[in-house]
Amino acid sequence: MVTFSQQSSGKFLSTYRSDKWWFEPLWTGLGFLSFVAYTTWAMFQGDYYWWSGGQEGFGGYLSPFYSPLLFIKEAVVGSAPMDHSWFGSWPGWWPVLIPASPAILILAGPLSFRMTCYYYRKFYYRAYFMSPPACAVSGISQKNYKGETALLVFQNLHRYTLYIALGFVVILSYDGFLSLFRGGEFGIGIGSIILIINPILLAGYTFGCHAFRHLTGGNQDCFTCPNGKPTFRHMVWRGVSWLNSRHILWAWISMLWVAFADFYVRMVSSGRWIDINTWGF
C-alpha cells in the first residue's frame, strides 16, 4: 500500500486537476506578449504614423500609438505636419542611440494604466509570475510572500494611471474627429471608422475601471442620502458597474483594436493598403 499526505506536494505546478488548466494562462500570456512585441516594434519605427493623402490643413489619420505628438521630427516618411506638434520640432538633445519616435514619449502613460489594472494583474500574475499559474495549481512558493505590500505596493497608484488614461481617451476622441476631415473638407473613410471606434472601445475599458467605479460611488455607503431617493451618483455608479462587469472583454477588445488602428494607419501611410473614403484619394 502506497501512503502519502493528502496534500499535493506543493512543488511548482503540482496539482490534482485533470483538466487543461494551462490553456488560459498560455493564451492570455502569449496574447499579451504579442501585443507588447508589436507595440515595441511600432514604437521604435518613428515613421508612417500619419496619413492625409498629401493634403495640408485640418484633418488626417494619426496612429493612436503616436498621439499626442509632443514633438515631431521633420523629413521623416509618413510623419505629421509640424502644426500638429504640441511643442514643436524634435529636441536636439535627444540621444542618438534612441530612435526619434514620438511614440516613445507617450506610450508609458496608457501602458502604466494597463499594467496596474486589476484585470491585467490577474492574468499576468498567473501567466508570467505563476503566482499561482491557475486555481488549485501550485505556483512558485516564496518563503516570505508579501503580495502587494512590499515591492508591488505601487499597484495602489492605479487611480493615478487612470487619470492619465482619461486624458488619452479625450485626445484620441479628438483624433477620431480629426479623421473625418482631409484638407479641411469633411468626409469619411475606413480609417475614420477605425479611429472613431478606437476611443469608444478605450472609453468602455477606462470608464469600467475598478478605480473609476470606486471614485464615482464605490466609496459611498449610502446612495440615497439625505432624502431617501437614489442620487445621480448612484445612477453613474450603476453605469460604471455595468461596464466593470465586462471589464475583461473591454480590456482585450480595446487592446487589440488600438494595435489594429496603428497597423491600419501604418499600412495606408506606407502605400501598402488603399483607404476607401469619400474624398476620392
Binding site: Q6, Y118, G139, Y145, L152, R159, N219, G228
Partner: protein, 249 residues
C-alpha cells in the same frame, strides 16, 4: 444505470491512500449521491461531511478531480463515462478523517472582525433603501463552504494564514464596511490585521464560489480601494483637507 470508478482519499492529516471504488450510478445523480452509495455499500467507516444536499449549507466541500466544489452540486454527467473521479478533502486545512477537513481556523478569523455597529437608535425604526442594501445582500448569499478560502493561493500555497484573513472574510468585512447603518471604522484593520495587501487579485476565489458572488470585483477590490483612499492617495487627502469635506473613508 452505469458502473463508474472513483478514487476517494482514505486517511488522516499524516498519511492516507486513494482507495478505488466502483459504484452503479443513475441519471441525474450528483457526486455526493455516488459517495453515499459507496459509504452505504462498501465503506461504512468513511467520514464525509454533508447536510442539506441542496447547495445551501456549504458542508460538502471537497476537491473533485483537483477542483474545489460542492459535491452535492456536482453532477455526474460533468465527467466522461470512462473517467475515474477522484475526491479529496480541502487541501488548505488539516484533514480530520477521510474527506472531512478541520475548518475551525475560519471561525477564529470571524471573531477578529469588528461586529456591526449601528448608530444608537434615537426614535422610530432603522430605515434602509433597497439601493443601499443591494451590494450587501450579494455578500449575504455566502454559504461559508470555504471553497474560496481553500483555493486562495495566499493561504493554500504561500501558507500566510497569520497575515491574510482570506476571501470569505474579506467579503464579510465589505458587507459591514458598505452597510449604510454601520458606523465602525475597519479600514485600518482591513489593511494591517486582515492583510488586504496580501491578495494579488488572481480571482480563484470568485471562480470557485458556488453562489457566484463576485468576491473580487465587488468585495476585495472595493476594500483595497478604500485602503488606498486612506493610506496611498495623498492628493485625495489634500482635496478633502483643502475643501474641508469629510472623507467617506
Amino acid at each position: 444505470m452505469a458502473l463508474r470508478n472513483f478514487k476517494l482519499f482514505r486517511g488522516n492529516q499524516n498519511e492516507g491512500t486513494m482507495e478505488h471504488y466502483s459504484v452503479e450510478v443513475d441519471k441525474g445523480m450528483v457526486v455526493l449521491d455516488a459517495i453515499h452509495h459507496i459509504q452505504a455499500e462498501q465503506a461504512g467507516d468513511m467520514a464525509l461531511r454533508w447536510n442539506c444536499k441542496a447547495g445551501k449549507c456549504g458542508s460538502c466541500s471537497v476537491e473533485i478531480n483537483g477542483k474545489p466544489k460542492l459535491s452535492c452540486m456536482t453532477r455526474m454527467n460533468e465527467y466522461g463515462p470512462e473517467e475515474t473521479i477522484s475526491v479529496r478533502p480541502l487541501q488548505s486545512f488539516p484533514v480530520m478523517k477521510d474527506l472531512v477537513s478541520d475548518v475551525s481556523w475560519n471561525y477564529e478569523q470571524n471573531k477578529n472582525i469588528t461586529p456591526f455597529k449601528p448608530d444608537p437608535l434615537k426614535k422610530g425604526n432603522y430605515i434602509m433603501m433597497q439601493e443601499d442594501i443591494d451590494r450587501v445582500q450579494e455578500f449575504r448569499k455566502c454559504l461559508e463552504c470555504y471553497l474560496c478560502q481553500n483555493v486562495c493561493h495566499v493561504l493554500r500555497d504561500q501558507r500566510q494564514k497569520d497575515k491574510f484573513i482570506g476571501p470569505r472574510f474579506m467579503i464579510r468585512l465589505a458587507s459591514l464596511e458598505m452597510h449604510p447603518l454601520d458606523t465602525a471604522d475597519r479600514i485600518p484593520d482591513v489593511k494591517d490585521t486582515h492583510g488586504s495587501g496580501m491578495c494579488n487579485i488572481t480571482r480563484c476565489c470568485t471562480d470557485v464560489c458556488p453562489e457566484h458572488i463576485q468576491i473580487t470585483d465587488n468585495g476585495i477590490i472595493p476594500l483595497k480601494e478604500r485602503v488606498v483612499d486612506r493610506y496611498y492617495d495623498p492628493l485625495l487627502r489634500l482635496f478633502y483637507k483643502l475643501f474641508r469635506r469629510k472623507s467617506p473613508n
